[in-house]
Amino acid sequence: MTEAAADSAADSAPVLTVRDLRISFPGGESRVDAVRGVDLELRRGEVLALVGESGSGKSVTALAAMGLLPPDAQVAGRLLVGDRDVTRLGPAELRDMRGREIGMVFQEPTTALNPVLTVGDQIGEALTNHENLTAAQVRERTLELLEAVGIPEPAERMRAYPHQLSGGLCQRVVIAMAVACNPAVIIADEPTTALDVTVQAQIMRLLRELRDSRGTAILLITHNMGVVADLADRVAVMRDGVVVEVGTAEQVLTDPQHEYTTALLAAVPRLGSGSRAAATDEPAADRPPTVLHLQDVRVEYRTLGRPAVRAVDDVTLAVRRGEVVGLVGESGSGKSTIGRCALGLVPATAGHVTLLGVDQRRLRGSRGRRVRRGVGVVLQNPASALDPRMTVGDSIAEPMVIHRVGSRAERQQRVRRLLDDVRLPAAAADRYPHEMSGGQRQRVGLARALSLGPDLVIADEPTSALDVSVQETVLRLLTELQAVHGFGCLFISHDLAVVESVAHRVVVLLGGRIVEEGATQDVLHRPREDYTRLLISSVPVPDPVQQAARRAAADAVLRESARALAG
């Protein structure tokens, strides 16, 4: 055999093999099966995406491959990293394997790093765990790693603490730790989910580069089909602990065989799949009344002895009855602050906020209560937005109780009608939030927001904590209810595709300022500003061929703006 042939034989041997993997956890009287017979194979230089919704068992499979499952988990089957079976290794062997043969990248980069140790220390530890190096060698290798993952000014950043770095830089540091000892496999568990789209695009680019330059195999765990299309060679779709479909990315994404995959892909909101038309230019007199108006609003956060941080800078926007205004932007753009300011939770430093025709500053006492009756709120995390000690019925009725609306019987009747509106059975009124799924809880949140028949609903990332299929039903519900009840809605989201599907008009924010605004189809399909264009081109679409083209377009936008900056 020639050397080249030997190489290719070594290349074709799987670096990670999963055979009939079964994992169960203790839960109540019997054990809960999280993974029920999974087979996977990952080869050198390959990116295998493991996709599925929450509870599908994809993260549990990943943790099992690292030997990081909690001690009460029962594992059966074979899990080979190289030729060693992880399920049979002792603690010392496991420790030796982690980092050297298999590395891991986590979802939340800011909490994945130890807050009291410098970035350099933490990367250095990944090296010294497996190699005997002098302090000078550790420093040199750490610098190389920081450079390899594209961190500017590595010598300074080495001495920085995680809280001094942005989420994107933190994720690069976590990736640097994962590849420190050049493992054959990296498991990336939702590596870009916590990041902004433009940063997500950068991290995906980095992972692709590492795969190409080092031949590292990547097991990519994600729920985002766009990320799959961008990065994966092959895809395994998981549901309820089993793999329902495996194939090349192109095959699975464009011609899915299993009905679950088809449904999953259909639920993914796609940018460019059409939007709701904005109100046409009717004569001013005929237009519905403005329910929320912000005029030159500025919000500053002050801390003693520090310059004020301007979160919102001279923002003017209006929401009319019957229209949904999408507020999009990345983290730190001020979109949530605007929502909070509209609700009066954060005072405006300058400018005027007019809520249902009344100046925010005059919303005190009984007048304030009367105006607030007309405003509903839906928040991001339905699990923490509902009082765990109140039944769903009590939660929905609470706004009516506070505003002394109706008799007890009338309120109960209205709760039943609201539950019906959000497609929940009347029996749900007696249940507690923890007995419901995330999607059901968010529908309860929606019902509560509509409890007093509001003229304005402020929804802050109402679906970003939900699975795509659940997100789809909640969004459809929201648009239906909005069309029926005709309330105005300020819809805050980082997800352009979601905004496209619900909003009539879109406002794009960057650094607290409005970059671009207009009818949804104009802003998202014919953007005028570079930033909007970059934002749109950074959103990965669930089609590998299309996505490759979009990636090229995004790179072009970046190059163009770099040239514009230089010129």
């Binding site: 986590f106 140790l117 765990n129 001094q164 976590v174």
Partner: protein, 317 residues
């Protein structure tokens, strides 16, 4: 960092000033006022008015407060008529001894409580954890004076290992020359502190063990011992250190009991004796000193925390 320290120092000074205002107000509300206390119950109103004029007690309160503050700055805490001694003399004589006793017993307590709490957290819900939890609950709920008597009965009377009385020397060196006599008072003070601080350390370690960064450290193949001590230990220590700062008044409260039982000539004993003869200048002097010590303690705790946790430093930059 410098800015953080300066800001924190300024806060501390403000708090101490507020304490002086309260103590001043208390001094002023003494029954019959200082004139009655000093001249006795036989004094005529004329004599009292005369005395008040001489001492400046008829001046506006603000002026009197500023004068009081001025005297404090010169180390004048007033005069104890029961002891016929300056309060400041009592304090300078006694404070170092109390600091020695509470300092040593706190050090001992931390040296035991921190590893114990971590050990328990790592062995959560196993036999060892349950046994230690039971013991700490027992220690926590046992009154200090009972514990002290028990210690004397067991280790001084039944098994004569240590003397029942604390060192009586006037100087610190003299006290340190009798380490055996310090064991029981130090241990009595330490046991309660161990009980509460090992609980803090245990729950703080448990919280941190569930953090993402622990999983990251394990995922790169870090030895478990290192994960526990380098990663978790340091992060778990910060809330415990904060508690330590606020624990100082409790320590003094404990010193009150231990000092009077072991007859240790510290601040606690002075306070105990003063309380029995209603020697208000000494009582309020001690209150002022302890309040100041608490402020300094929490200041030190914050600075220590800033040293451990870079985010604390950053927040005030």
């Amino acid at each position: 960092m410098t800015r953080y320290v300066a800001g924190r120092l300024l806060q501390a000074v403000v708090v101490v000033l507020i304490v002086t205002v309260i103590v001043f107000a208390l001094l002023h509300s003494l029954p019959g006022g200082p004139a009655r206390a000093i001249l006795g119950i036989d004094a005529t109103p004329a004599q009292m008015a005369d005395f008040n004029h001489q001492q400046g007690f008829d001046q506006p309160l603000v002026v009197q407060y500023l004068q009081y503050l001025g005297r404090l700055l010169h180390g004048d805490l007033g005069r104890s008529f029961a002891l016929n001694q300056d309060v400041s003399a009592v304090v300078t004589q006694r404070l170092p001894k109390t600091l020695l006793l509470t300092g040593v017993s706190t050090l001992v307590a931390m040296a035991v409580a921190v590893p114990l709490g971590v050990w328990q957290a790592v062995r959560r819900n196993r036999a060892g954890d349950y046994v230690v939890t039971a013991l700490t609950f027992l220690a926590y709920s046992t009154p200090a004076f009972f514990l002290a008597f028990l210690a004397i009965l067991l280790f001084s009377q039944a098994i004569p290992l240590f003397p029942a009385q604390a060192p009586q020397a006037d100087t610190l060196a003299g006290i340190l020359a009798e380490p055996a006599a310090l064991v029981l008072p130090v241990a009595t003070g330490a046991v309660t502190a161990i009980a509460s601080f090992s609980r803090y350390m245990r729950s703080s370690t448990l919280d941190n063990l569930a953090e993402d960064y622990v999983r990251t450290a394990r995922a790169k193949g870090t030895v478990e011992r290192r994960v526990i001590w380098r990663h978790v230990g340091r992060n778990s220590l910060t809330p415990v250190i904060t508690m330590l700062g606020y624990h100082i008044p409790v320590l003094f409260g404990g010193a009150l009991v231990t000092e009077s039982i072991f007859n240790y000539p510290g601040m606690g004993l002075a306070f105990w004796n003063a309380a029995q003869v209603s020697d208000y200048p000494v009582l309020l002097g001690v209150v002022l000193v302890i309040a100041t010590a608490t402020v300094i303690g929490s200041l030190l705790a914050d600075l220590l925390q800033a040293l451990i946790d870079p985010r604390v430093r950053g927040a005030h930059r």
